[in-house]
């Protein structure tokens, strides 16, 4: 009777994904735990298929904050602006709030029944249809009401078409890694991080940064940053060895 079906074939949003990753590792929601799941999160986002196109912006926005957290854990000296700090605290709080409702929902899932548990009865049994047209209504009243209904529905639409949010350049992590390696090989010397990005969309910088982290981890590149906020210089490890 208590048949409840959870379909987890995909993540409906960034918070669901993030929470899953944290809970898999049995962690509390803290900055440290967020930092520790950043790579898994980014790896998942990097594989985003067409299914998620409409929500890609939401996933990337969270990814940006995660990268900020990650950077802070790698570079303890990294100064963050108060705005960025707020962003980090905000993400933790929102994740906690999301978890609250998720848990409340799981509680309810147990009492959910596929069919209603209570039933009404046929209404007005034995009452027959008596033609009683309202006196005051004319055809033009119906037309006016109809115009109003459509006006109301149309006013709900905002001017900005939803596609605007969807059309983000989607660059896969693999493509980015390949492109960086290709350019490093071609340059045979240090190149600037900024030159690795095409149009300066935050999402692309993010993917580039992520690609660099991956390459660093695999010891395929070396990076150097002389000053805080200074240029990041990237060099192929093969050039050095």
């Amino acid at each position: 009777m208590m048949s409840f079906v959870v379909t987890l074939e995909k993540f409906s949003g960034p918070l669901e994904l993030l929470l899953k990753l944290i809970e898999e590792k049995h962690l509390e929601i803290t900055e440290i735990s967020l930092s520790s799941v950043t790579e898994d999160y980014l790896a998942w986002v990097a594989q985003v298929k067409g299914d998620y196109m409409e929500n890609v912006a939401d996933f990337l926005q969270v990814a940006a904050t995660l990268l900020l957290i990650k950077s802070r854990s790698i570079l303890p000296t990294l100064e963050v602006t108060s705005e960025e700090k707020e962003e980090i605290i905000d993400l933790q709080a929102r994740l906690a709030l999301y978890k609250l409702f998720k848990d409340l929902g799981l509680n309810l899932a147990n009492s959910w029944s596929l069919q209603p548990k209570m039933f009404g009865r046929p209404s007005w049994v034995g009452k027959t249809i008596v033609f009683t047209p309202p006196k005051e209504i004319r055809a033009k009243n119906l037309t006016e009401a109809c115009q109003l209904i459509f006006q109301k529905l149309e006013s709900q639409l905002i001017l900005q078409p939803p596609e605007a949010a969807i059309r983000l350049p989607v660059i896969s992590l693999q493509d980015k890694i390949a492109s960086i390696l290709g350019r490093l090989a071609a340059a045979k010397s240090k190149i600037h991080f900024n030159s690795l990005n095409g149009e300066v969309a935050r999402e692309e910088i993010l993917i580039t940064f992520l690609a660099l982290l991956e390459l660093l981890k695999d010891n395929k590149v070396k990076v150097q940053q002389d000053d805080l906020f200074g240029e990041i210089e990237v060099e192929s490890a093969e050039n050095i060895n």
């Binding site: 912006a57 939401d58 926005q61 707020e86 905000d90 709080a93 929102r94 039933f119 009404g120 009865r121 046929p122 209404s123 007005w124 049994v125 009452k127 249809i129 008596v130 033609f131 009683t132 047209p133 309202p134 005051e136 209504i137 004319r138 055809a139 033009k140 009243n141 119906l142 037309t143 009401a145 109809c146 115009q147 209904i149 459509f150 529905l153 149309e154 709900q156 639409l157 905002i158 939803p162 949010a165």
Partner: protein, 190 residues
């Protein structure tokens, strides 16, 4: 399982008279037990605080509203009829007129709220009729009655002003609420 409670639930939801046989089957109890419980229910309804009565005829049973409350019930029924069309009823009637034959769920979607009660009233007043949906069992399609059309002085539904325009207008695009993409800072308070 408490037999008397189950029997009351069964009789209540059915509306139609139910035979002893059906009650026995549906409750899964012995006939004698069922009969005894029905007697008990009957007695309970005889209390003056109850508004119900157990009507027995030819080994069938039906719950009815108590005869002594006939006056108030009549007032409800006629009151419901005489009332002017509320704005929500007008909205509902309009949707049925311009978009009919139309299913309940579509009406609900346009209005955003459950329209069951209002539709029922419109049917009882003879303004709207429902037919079986040929494409989906257990679903109905609602349209304006010929009677009401006549009353409006129209010989066919197409004579409603702007009928063509509103009848064919694509609704799908309008029904998606696309107000914001979320992820605003948490500061936004309700």
């Amino acid at each position: 399982m408490i037999l008397i409670s189950v029997l009351e639930s069964l009789l209540f939801t059915s509306g139609e008279p139910l035979s002893l046989e059906i009650l026995v089957k549906a409750s899964g109890e012995a006939e004698a037990e069922v009969k005894k419980a029905l007697e008990e229910l009957k007695k309970r309804y005889e209390e003056e605080t109850s508004g119900l009565t157990l009507f027995e005829h030819d080994e069938t049973y039906q719950i009815l509203s108590k005869a002594t409350n006939q006056m108030s019930v009549q007032k409800l029924v006629s009151g419901v009829f005489e009332e002017k069309l509320t704005s929500t009823a007008l909205e509902c009637l309009t949707i049925v007129a311009y978009r009919g034959p139309i299913g309940r769920s579509q009406i609900d979607l346009i209005r955003g709220v459950n329209s069951g009660y209002i539709l029922h009233q419109l049917v009882l007043r003879g303004l709207v009729e429902r037919r079986n949906n040929p494409n989906r069992s257990n679903a109905f399609l609602y349209s304006i009655t010929a009677n009401y059309l006549k009353h409006l002085g129209l010989s066919r539904i197409e004579e409603l002003p702007h009928y063509e325009e509103y009848h064919t207008k694509d609704l799908q695009a309008l029904l998606n609420d696309v107000t914001s993409t979320g992820l605003e800072p948490v500061k936004a308070s309700e």
